[in-house]
Symmetry: C2
Subunit: 410 residues, 2 copies
């Protein structure tokens, strides 16, 4: 199958491209390297070093004999989107190409607007290009479980049957996203659902949980095939951060009470889910939603697990920078991908051990200053950024012992 | 009260500014004249001539002795938004300043992207400016009943209590908007609700029905105070179009079977509703939604009413250019504004007669070519537009007798 992977240079886009290539698909990759640019802007870096896309593709050719074609450009440029679609004539488009950090979107007005415009316009351009060129192309779009927020009822997969004043309808599941980034994904979902309705497009929206893991069957075949490992306060995910904190001897910093519960999944399952979605396309006109996660954990649970597996890490609670419930009901359906044949890789002690191993291996590259939560949801101007503004050192001193120790170390 | 009216040069923004000024508020008006620009782009015009904003404001000063301050600029420019807010220090901001035509948003990729970026970014900039300068400012935002679509259950005002698998929560009402424009309003609503939650802002979202009427107590005081009357296929609303068709002896063109039912309201009630919202502000952190309409009618009902009051107009059915249900359940709550004291002006024969009177008075200005539905939801490129593209004459010939007659007349 001819498959286009948008955002194919990113943490998940790259391993997904390799996975699909290895399964015999003809894969092309699109990226504008925005993710690498954010690192320059924030002064942070992936813990595991990664090489440039062109070298990655060469290494893949070396180890597998398989070609991956690359296109460099921006989805907010409609001419570029049309060109790539026309050149590749894909049967499926896997769309990872969005700004995907909630804290990044909450830095200030500029970053909120950038995130929503970048994500919404890129997807709109893609929908138009598909509608114009070939309405049979299956769009597999990465969404997020964060679109739902934490309602006090069970979360379903995209739609819910509601009985109200004696009548019943199946309606889009109500969304309560928790950042301007999560909102951008909700906007995308609504736009895609509409495009399927009016143009008869086929789309699968993968509402993904938080992904952990850094190695896949393909990326381990050559050092140049490695994917990112982000642990910083803006792009890092919580399990990575805990592992890095553990190996540098820093207490695992839990935001608030740590009761925030989220769906999680192994990077291997992300690949498998995307593969299943691509290989079982949506019907013409169908907009379907799969909740893509395998287990739910609270932040406190994860910290406890990392501390236990590591053996000597402590856990500390720091003020929550986000506006979110620290204790809430959470039960979300996730059967559709299992029905298609997903066999989950669960978060075992061995998996935590392997993540701690990655962190340990690159211990020397850890920048402790990067771990601190620097973006506060309640502020409209988070003073960590870029051109002309004050830098991180102008931030108020951290008010908890854990963070203060990190600052001294830096 | 100091009130900022954004989009205060538009069909409803201008009469609202006058209404609030007359009620003793200190009103400032912001506009970028995008609405006048769309007329140039489409080659259409308001049936009732309107003068420039500066002359409108002078006429108001003449007849009322009251000052209205004007600011010319674009909400997508964050520096402009900050400047206006800082200069006026309003207690309430009434936000009409969005691209508000569904067909306009469906012309092509460029117009879809423009509509969503213009509307979403303008509102985001406003939310940031309010959060930065004064979180007590009450945002009164114009939304649309079209955000809900036509679900098979009763529509509530913004939120719905859902009982699901034995648990209950009050959640945002599920939305099924029917155009990229309507989607932009849904995106706005989600962004505003979030801003209220994280920053404690106060907001009222007025999900307005389709407005009819052209004269208000204030606009009739001087010819230079008149507001727009749009009847064209892109910006016109259905009742205006029927009245214009009736007076030029053209059959009233009902899209499809005309079973599409929508909430409607008199322009006088728009003014009263905005006034009630402003004078009864939302609480700090509260995001509330009022459904702002007074009666529901099907398109066929309205055509029949205009035909009956006019006396000699015929009704004809033409292929529906939109993708929407032509026959559906429709019952929507609208009690919150009544509870605040709204006394509706209903759609009586006298009101239809007065609209026919407006159309009759400016009969010579009618451009019959402008009435045709030129934007088809199923197409991604509607060939009616602008620079370099083919013009309206390249459209396929109308396939119904009614439209063909119009074309001959033009």
């Amino acid at each position: 199958m001819k498959i286009l992977v948008l955002g194919g240079d990113g943490y998940l886009g790259w391993p997904t491209a390799l996975y699909l290539s290895r399964r015999g698909h003809e894969v092309s990759v699109v990226d504008n390297f925005a993710r690498r640019q954010y690192d320059f802007e924030m002064g942070v870096d992936t813990l595991v070093p990664i090489v440039q896309l062109q070298r990655r593709v060469r290494a893949w050719k070396e180890v597998s004999g398989l070609e991956v074609t690359t296109y460099v450009g921006d989805l907010t440029d409609p001419a570029f989107v049309s060109h790539v679609l026309a050149s590749t004539a894909p049967e499926a488009v896997v769309h990872f190409a969005e700004q995907r950090s909630a804290p990044y979107s909450m830095i200030d007005q500029k970053h909120a607007v950038y995130t929503q415009v970048n994500n919404v316009v890129g997807t709109l351009n893609l929908l138009y290009a598909i509608a114009e060129q070939d309405r049979d192309i299956h769009l597999v779009k990465l969404g997020t479980m964060g679109e739902y927020g934490t309602p006090n009822i069970d979360i379903e997969e995209g739609f819910i049957e509601i009985t109200h004043r004696g009548r019943t309808d199946v309606l889009p599941y109500p969304k309560q996203p928790g950042s301007f980034y999560h909102l951008s994904k909700v906007h995308d979902s609504a736009n895609i659902m509409f495009a399927c309705r009016i143009w008869g497009l086929r789309a699968t929206d993968l509402n993904q949980g938080i992904v952990y893991g850094q190695e896949t069957e393909e990326t381990v075949l050559h050092p140049d095939l490695a994917t990112r490992f982000d642990y910083d306060g803006v792009f890092g995910t919580v399990l990575n951060r805990f592992c890095v904190q553990a190996v540098i001897g820093h207490p695992l910093t839990v935001y608030g009470t740590g009761g925030q519960t989220r769906g999680m999944l192994n990077i291997l399952d992300t690949l498998a889910c995307v593969g299943l979605a691509v290989e079982h396309p949506a019907d013409a006109g169908e907009y379907r939603v799969f909740n893509q996660f395998t287990e739910s954990f609270s932040v406190a649970d994860m910290a406890a697990m990392v501390a236990r597996v590591h053996g000597s890490a402590e856990v500390t609670n720091v003020p929550a920078p986000r506006v979110e419930k620290e204790s809430h009901y959470y039960r979300a359906a996730h059967t559709k991908l299992l029905d298609l044949g997903l066999v989950p890789h669960l978060l075992t002690d061995d998996v935590v051990r392997s993540l701690l191993g990655v962190a340990e291996r690159y211990r020397d590259r850890v920048n402790p200053e990067a771990i601190r939560p620097t973006v506060n949801w309640r502020q409209t101007t988070n003073r960590l950024v870029t051109s002309g503004g004050p830098d991180m050192h102008d931030l108020p001193e951290p008010d908890d012992a854990g963070n203060a120790r990190v600052a001294e170390r830096a």
